[in-house]
């Protein structure tokens, strides 16, 4: 049913529809609306789930790990400093192969302290072994949260669903909220591959010495790369059932056919880029929906006919450059494409149509 929803609420609706059982929460701007909406559902009796008011984000993700390891569907959400605080648990959740789904309302990292949106928080943890999706709209955030469980539970890796802080998390848009019946037909009941169970005792989280540790990392890497196939299939299945899809699941393009120039970006900025593309008609948009696993081959295919590529990064690796640009250049290193990169929108700085036009016209420097 189509409703006008705030993106955060749409995510909360998705969590409710996915029948999530344990939800540890902790407040931090700008993700707080997500646990607030979930709390309303729970306290109104609409949603039977265990809310844990953890005393920090570190304990929040720790509790999520404990719950997921005990065989139940788990969700949590955070941003910025909170994500940074629970850093070690991100790697642990992935290493333990737990299918946790976490929403991240992207916000920059201190210092200076700043509550507004850029991708620094989730980009800075791109090594942790979580899948990462960057949503462009409230609809996509809703759909991706549901798809995230399906993907996570097949591949046994945790998934981050990222929405731009404020620019997307706090925006009201029409969203088609699916019925429970519909979600049930798409997302089956969670059947964990392993769990803490007194009938079948296992040890989770042992010490792995050098002779085996690297093998486990290979398992994780293989799983993450195998997930590319699963992401694509889930995208197709969703399209067949609900008539909505996002490119091939990993990359979406807009107005790219016949163009030699493109702008590549992630998240809600893609909406502005579409608008400019309609206006100028001389370039297309390549939207990276899935940043981890990085869709190398898919990117190479999509850039087949390009001469010029402009990368917009809402993050910066101090001492080098934007993460998306670095990974894009890595994928296209031997292709004859001129790749230019700009850092924009840090700490919530507005990215205007003008800024993007300047980028297209080869503006000096690296900042927009």
């Amino acid at each position: 049913m189509k409703k006008i929803e705030e993106c955060s609420k749409a995510i909360a609706e998705a969590v409710k529809l996915c029948n999530v059982k344990v939800i540890p929460i902790y407040p931090i701007t700008p993700q707080t609306h997500i646990p607030e909406e979930i709390s309303k559902f729970v306290n109104d009796g609409e949603f039977n789930s265990e809310l844990i008011y953890t005393e920090s984000e570190h304990s929040m993700l720790s509790a999520a790990i404990g719950a997921s390891a005990s065989g139940v569907r788990t969700f949590t959400a955070t941003s910025s400093q909170g994500l940074a605080y629970t850093f070690e648990n991100l790697f642990i959740a992935s290493g333990l192969r737990l299918p946790i789904v976490m929403a991240v309302a992207n916000r920059t990292l201190s210092a200076p302290i700043n509550i507004w949106g850029d991708h620094q928080d989730s980009i800075s943890v791109r090594d942790c072994g979580w899948l990462q999706f960057y949503a462009e709209s409230s609809q996509e955030a809703f759909d991706t949260t549901i798809q995230a469980y399906k993907i996570a539970e097949q591949i046994n890796l945790p998934v981050m669903v990222c929405v731009d802080g404020f620019n997307l998390s706090h925006v009201y848009e029409p969203v088609d909220i699916l019925e429970q019946k519909q979600v049930n037909s798409f997302l089956p009941e969670f059947k964990p591959k392993f769990k803490l169970d007194t009938n079948k005792p296992i040890t989770i989280g042992p010490v792995a010495y050098p002779n085996t540790f690297m093998q486990f990392k290979k398992q994780q890497q293989d799983a993450m790369l195998d997930s590319i196939k699963i992401i694509k299939n889930v995208n197709i299945e969703f399209k067949n059932k609900f008539k909505r899809s996002y490119g091939d699941g990993l990359i979406e393009t807009y107005n790219l056919k016949g163009k030699k120039k493109a702008i590549i970006a992630m998240g809600s900025i893609c909406g502005t880029i579409r608008e400019l593309s309609n206006k100028l008609k001389n370039f297309g948009l390549i939207k990276i929906r899935c940043f981890r696993p990085f869709p190398k081959q898919e990117l190479i295919n999509v850039c087949k006919n390009l001469n010029e590529l402009i990368v917009i990064d809402k993050n910066i690796s101090i001492g080098n450059g934007g993460a998306l640009a670095i990974e894009v250049k890595n994928a296209l290193f031997d292709k004859k494409i001129n790749v230019r990169s700009y850092i924009a929108g840090l700490g919530g700085k507005d990215i205007t149509i003008n800024d993007l036009e300047k980028a297209l016209k080869n503006k000096e420097g690296w900042m927009l």
């Binding site: 290493g95 046994n156 040890t203 792995a208 486990f216």
Partner: protein, 87 residues
């Protein structure tokens, strides 16, 4: 070695499969005559190397005894004596 997903170990208590006694310098010599089966040694062994059958202790499991000497220390009847491993 088959590596399970996420490094989980599915066989509970499988540390019993491999003998671990190479580091022992002393071993407990148990005098059955003096032993009153009070079970203090069974109770206090950190390794659970003193097993019991029908609530009575049996000979020390030398596959896992580390030779710490606690059993000798807690025995009130001088029924255990730590002797050098080579003996």
């Amino acid at each position: 070695m088959e590596l399970k997903i996420g490094a989980i170990i599915e066989e509970p208590g499988n540390s019993l499969k491999n003998r671990k006694a190479g580091w022992r310098s002393f071993r407990p010599k148990w005098d059955k005559e003096k032993c009153t089966q009070c079970m203090m040694c069974w109770q206090f062994c950190p390794e659970n190397a003193i097993h019991q059958v029908n609530n009575k202790r049996i000979e020390t499991d030398f596959d896992f005894c580390k030779g710490c000497g606690i059993c000798e220390n807690v025995c009130k009847f001088k029924a255990i004596k730590m002797v050098k491993e080579e003996q």
